[in-house]
Amino acid sequence: MATQTIGITFQYSHTIGRGEFSGPGFRNPVAMARGEDDTMYVVNRSYEYRPDGKRITVCTVDEDYVGEFARGVHTAGETEENENDGSLIWPTAVAIAPQGNVYVADEWLNRISMFDRDGEWLGKWGTKGSGEGELDGPSGMAFDADGNLLVVDSKNHRVQKFTSGGQFISAWGSEGSGEGELGLPWGICVDKDGNVFVADWRNDRVQKFTADGQFLQQFGNGELNRPTSVDTDKDGLVYVADWGNEQVRIYSPEGELLTSLVGDATISKWGKDKLDANSEMWQEREIAQGIEREKLFWGAVAVEVDDEDRLFVVESCRNRIQIYRKQQPMFFGGRL
């Protein structure tokens, strides 16, 4: 369906995904990033007892499977962990550097891992702590226009800026609920002007900062319930994953709520393949009651907007990504 607001329409496009521990599909996806040539990098958190499902899935917007990298490892206690380079325990975020390398955050290992665009491991950094450059629960990442990496250092209630090689540059934020303070923040993005938006998770709001961390604005108070992710488009609209309310909120640049999305999922290409291979389920779907629930977001944990005004909504509980297109009316001729 199309959701229209103030001359802008958010037209549902299609859905990508199905539940899989490997191969084409996702397992509890929690984040994604758009790469070059319509590629997508999707972070799969999976179940704890199925670490094989923890991985980065690479696919295209048209749902062609490209591959996967960075497998999860079993967790049998802190001291017994296999923490090989490139392995995952609690992956949370992914960001694409200007040159195309893929950065993946792990909030248990307190590690930022770097891969090339094909998934070859390049390096890592991260040490647990609360000092400059140390991390405690990195949960969101975004590159700024200078190619520096902003990391939401969640349990330290702050944002840290690093070079793409992991050298500490600056930090801001402290625990609290006042302006500029943060409560277990999660997602982050940088807009076209270099301003920084943070999903202030425990404070149920989004905050906007200057590039160097000066508080500018907050919005969503009283509306948002544990927002997890935020992104902006080239017109300055702000998209928020309102995780606790199972919605995506879209705000004007001034912070006015324009509209909310609740989900419009349809059967994905991979989903159709799965159903064709289990044809009795096509029949079950015919008689299923309440199947309209399948359209709705469940675990809408991450939003991403690409340069083509496509909105991607990652659903951790449905192993899929719903895609919308922002459409603006075009008028011809002069004013009447």
């Binding site: 179940y47 007892y49 544990r226 159903l275």
Partner: protein, 467 residues
Amino acid sequence: MAHQDIELMAHLMRRAGFGATYEEVERRAANGYEATVEELLSPMEQPDLDRHLLDRYFVDWKEMNALEVNQAYLTYRMINTQRPLQEKMTLFWHGILCTGNSKCEHGRQIQEQLDMFRVLGMGSLRDLLLELSRDPAMVFYLDNCMSHKDAINENFGRELLELFSMGVGMDGHANYSEDDVKECARAFTGWTITNAIPRYPYGRYASQFAFNAADHDEGEKTFLGETGNFGGEEIIDIIARQPATARFVARHLYNFFVADEPQVPAWQETPPRDPEAIKMLEDAYFESNYNLSAMLRTLFNSDFFKNARFAKVKSPAETVAGTMRLVQDFTHPKPGLHPIAMEIRYMGQDLLNPPTVEGWHTGAEWIDSGTLVERINFTADQIGNTALPGVRAIIDRLSAEGVTEPQAFVDRCLDMVGSYQLPDETRDYLVEHVEKGGQLQTGTDDYGHRVGQTLQLIVATQEYQFA
């Protein structure tokens, strides 16, 4: 504070909850026994777990799909709940009003049933049984969705009487007839569930209860001597007022909270081990209009409960959750919970997946050569880990008290894990072991190591397998 108050409080917290650290036992004992009972009986006055926080870090808990995911969640709840009696009653009902993952379309469905037990499990038995009859997991598990007005399926109707409310018989006589089973099943025709959404491609959704009036037998029924055009609700009303129901619930509560009873199939012929206690509980049932909290209040404040120390073999869930509460691990979300939750399975209690609708056989049947080794290995591994906060707290406490005399050292270690008492021979062995280790010196690494070692020996005793 009197030592006997500490011992009694440790007993209460083992039974009405999943155990407590020595500090919590002290704090509760200072508040008083009856006040603690009242607090336990008012779970809604205590905060629930921060579900958003759990769902954030244990991402799979938001969906609650697979069995193992649900088991980890339930284990975390037992370890961390601030409403211990509510969670204990949830476990109680899960072992009686059984559904299992082996016949369940969606793991979340059973978790939703447990949520229902959390809400209703300490209230009116009538309300609980009525909601159970509408519970989608139960409707599917016992085939009530297959019971039609022109072709009844007796499965749910039979188990409702036999295993969920009255029992086959008591005092040597049957509680109901085969005709009652059929009439009961007729009354529940049309109580069904919505057709499920298949698991592919995006995963399951919970089914919902649905009443299909067109498939309900509207005819007259005679049930337990009463005749009328009964539906399921009227059947539950009749069941709730039966003396057999009071007896059944009373024996179950006694078996779970006081002392091991014979297993349910023997209850028709085998009288309760403490008829006076059962009578007290039956009276509380009727005087309170079938209220379970009233029965629990009577139970916990009774002498028969207070005197029933170490008269029950711990269940695997009690063993694991109690150990983790003692060592204070997994008090916050972190990886590694799955292997802890699996220990409960390895000890013989596959939570959310009981072997049959009869649930688990309890008491001495929990123990065999395999499960005993599993229990001892697990508890000894945990309690011997001196890096864990709860073990560290015990070491610091004994060190601060300056406990260095071997007999006092052993006795204080026994206090710390729940005021356990050992036979003289076993205690003497432990004291001898401590003496052989040489002089104890507080504040040293050796002291901590020997506290851990002594705690390990304690949890390996026969006595520690009892609650």
